[in-house]
């Protein structure tokens, strides 16, 4: 049977591949060789990977989720008219857009992500077919001066999406005015925040958009040299971006005399080597120069004296991804989205205890509640949600009671958290806030470059105190000391890493002080997470004596007689509270308290 009337599109971002998209793609190619099959970047519904979209020649489209070998057969049978629609796997379709999957997409405003998941990221032709490289053409052939470009971006009102939120046009003006025969533009793709993957998806799913954004920025500031600093942990992003540079160079869009003008821009990839602090501008510059990635004292600011001593602008991946759209549609169109304080859209990476996790782009001003419940579907376990963590190690926790806070810089800052780069971890009552604060301090302590004493030693002291509290050995004075240290570190650190490192502790203390006090006063971890404060015991009446826990216990502390439920015991002296037994126990016969 011919399937030549079908177009089959498989999502192949890192999440998709991790869920088996390559196998699914292969199965379609084998079983429907006549169909027009291709792969695209991640559309953002990571909770439903592997995702497949099928379009027929009647203009109908069907989007399926959680596709595996069996579902591939079902999908093909349906579209060949041999079987019913596989409804369990249908996320949305042109016939019925009001499904949950349809809502996930329709509630979003996709500017930065406009092409991600819609086209083959390795094809410059597809990018151009969707209006790509029209913006740089408009600038060069339409006779826009660099000042015109800066003005347009100023009207748009976009602020840097890397976390700090500095107005992009203002930053450019500094470098535009700086003297120098050579200037650099750097794309900051060192997305080191644990819990954030917006830049990965943008680089993987629409690399030409970032290249074009860099061209626009370089033109505006007068840069002839460019670097894309991308984490080595993102191999697919590096590969796709490399292909994009190659194709753009071949098309005369990179290199000398771009589109026949005297604008020249040479772009290279520099792979990061795993240092969170390199997200900081001066540390990133030091890293490209081949040094340890340690921040430098500002001024001079990079816009005046940056990479190799030349004026340099560093823009975040997401900021750059908005630029072609702004030039195409005009700054006013972008300004119309969002709020007075925060213009445009923001991409978020939703993860944690959420039903529909993934990548979402929403207009600024939407409330956290709307994003978490209406788009994300709320709690995955149906247990009530407790908090969200925004902004990673530099950010903070916002409790459920403040979920009506609008997503904009000023309102988020007022809670004590920060907008950050867009990672959102949703937590239910199974997450311990003290443990989370310890996790982040552990992270910043390791990632501190060591230049400033308060950051180097202060974060270590804070981590030690948090560990003490988690082990049930903390005192009430320890909590005061934490607050005192936090203030000191904020004031006496040179760069953003140290200045924001105490935020996770300060916000959890502000909103979840009772959890700290339960650890200290009652030696109790309310979420039953902290290993020093919990015990695992077998509930005899529920145990069926299957012995699976014995097999998985890493310290051999579970003993009993097979098939005799009542005989099984955990030796508390040996147990390390790792939780393996809970995970494998079928009748849920292990009590954690």
């Amino acid at each position: 049977m011919s399937d030549s009337n079908l177009e089959i599109i498989v999502g192949e971002g890192t999440c998709g591949r991790a869920s088996g998209s390559t196998e699914v793609l292969g199965l379609f190619r084998k079983n429907a060789p006549d169909a027009n099959i291709h792969s695209v970047g991640c559309v953002g519904m990571c909770h439903a990977e592997v995702m497949v979209e099928v379009r027929d020649n009647e203009g109908k489209s069907f989007m399926y989720g959680n596709v595996d070998k069996k579902v591939v057969t079902k999908i093909l049978k349906f579209h060949r008219g041999e079987d019913e629609l596989p409804e369990d796997n249908l996320l949305t379709s042109s016939d019925n857009p009001e499904t949950e999957g349809g809502q996930y997409l329709s509630r979003q405003t996709r500017v930065a992500l406009r092409n991600v998941g819609m086209m083959d990221p390795t094809s410059i032709e597809q990018y151009q077919a969707r209006g790509g490289y029209k913006a740089i053409e408009k600038i060069i052939k339409g006779g826009m001066t660099p000042e015109d470009v800066i003005e347009e971006v100023k009207i748009a009102g976009i602020r840097g999406r890397g976390g700090a939120g500095f107005p992009t046009a203002t930053k450019w003006t500094f470098a535009r005015g700086a003297e120098g025969d050579k200037k650099y533009l750097i794309c900051n793709g060192d997305e080191g925040d644990p819990g954030a993957f917006m830049d990965r998806s943008l680089l993987e799913g629409d690399p030409h958009n970032i290249v074009e954004g860099m061209l626009i920025a370089a033109y505006a500031i007068g840069a002839s040299g460019g670097y894309a600093y991308i984490r080595a942990e993102y191999p697919l992003a590096v590969t796709n971006f490399d292909l994009a540079i190659e194709a753009a160079t071949e098309a005369g869009l990179l290199g000398d005399n771009i589109l026949g003008s005297d604008f020249c821009f040479d772009l290279k990839i520099k792979q990061g080597a795993g240092a969170f602090v390199c997200g900081e501008e001066t540390a990133l510059i030091a890293s490209i120069e081949g040094e340890r990635g340690m921040p430098r004292i500002r001024p001079p600011f990079p816009a005046i004296k940056g990479l190799f001593g030349k004026p340099t602008i560093i823009n975040n991946v997401e900021t750059l991804s908005n630029l072609p759209w702004i030039i195409d549609n005009g700054g006013a169109a972008y300004q119309a989205i969002g709020t007075e304080d925060s213009r445009g859209t923001k991409v978020f990476a939703l993860a944690g205890a959420i039903k529909r996790g993934g990548l979402v782009e929403v207009p600024m001003g939407m409330s956290l509640r709307e994003m978490i419940y209406d788009i994300g579907g709320g709690s995955v376990t149906d247990k009530p949600l407790k908090a969200v963590q925004l902004g990673g190690p530099s950010g903070g926790c916002i409790p459920e009671s403040l979920f009506d806070t609008p997503i904009e810089y000023a309102s988020i800052n007022a809670t004590g958290a920060i907008m950050g780069s867009g990672g959102i971890i949703v937590m239910d009552e199974k997450s311990c806030m003290v443990d989370l604060a310890k996790f982040f301090l552990d992270f910043t302590q390791i990632e501190s470059c060591g230049k400033c004493t308060f950051c180097r030693i202060g974060t270590l002291r804070m981590k030690e105190i948090l560990t003490k509290i988690c082990d049930g050995e903390g005192t009430m004075e320890d909590i005061d000391t934490l607050e005192e240290l936090a203030e000191g570190i904020k004031q006496a650190s040179l760069c953003g890493l140290g200045q924001t490192a105490p935020n996770p502790v300060l916000t959890t203390l502000k909103y979840f002080r009772e959890e700290y006090e339960a650890h200290v006063k009652e030696q109790r971890c309310p979420a039953a997470v902290c290993k020093g404060l919990i015990t695992h015991t077998i509930i005899n009446e529920d145990c069926n004596g299957c012995s699976i826990c014995e097999r998985y216990c890493p310290v051999d502390c579970i003993t009993g007689e097979k098939k005799k439920g009542e005989t099984w015991v955990i030796d508390q002296e040996v147990c390390i509270n790792c939780g393996m037994c809970v995970e494998v126990c079928n009748p849920d016969a292990i009590l954690v308290a």
Partner: protein, 194 residues
Amino acid sequence: MSNQSLEATVDPELVNKWIDEIGSGVPAAVPLLQAIQGEYGYLPRDAMDMVIANSDINASQLFGVATFYAQFRMKPVGRHLVKVCHGTACHVTGADRLNTSLRHILDITDEEEDTSANGSYTVEDVACVGCCSIAPALVIGDEIIGNLTGADAQRVLKKHARGVKEELLGDEAAKKKKEKEAAKATASGEESRA
């Protein structure tokens, strides 16, 4: 426990080729180290010494950079590397259990050690790999696998080990087949001559 057998033998020509291609100045330090680790899985002391001797990067600069970035590893690595993600989402969904479970099945008991005694696998903690929606996740070879429990992690490891074994046996089998065919060809050649 000693992992002497895992020490790599460094090819000086290769190191010099990288210096030629990537550069010999300080800005080349990170990419040079990435090339070395890409080949050997860690930074063998011999390779570092060759870079110091044959480039403009001095010992303090090179070691300074090597010890600063989390990606670089100074001690030998097992034949296969399992990277357990410890981003925020993975942490709150139980990444610790993946470590416990993998170390248990590989019988790595010494807290300072991350490689199994026979040198087959190394279990390493890494920062966020950016697959937070399928947390907790691990990376084995080039493959990212997500939504894992501790027990799943053991299954993933076993599956990987089976794959490696089959590949090795496959190579063996292919070699034997080739030898057989070659022998046959010689035999038939001799026959026709006869």
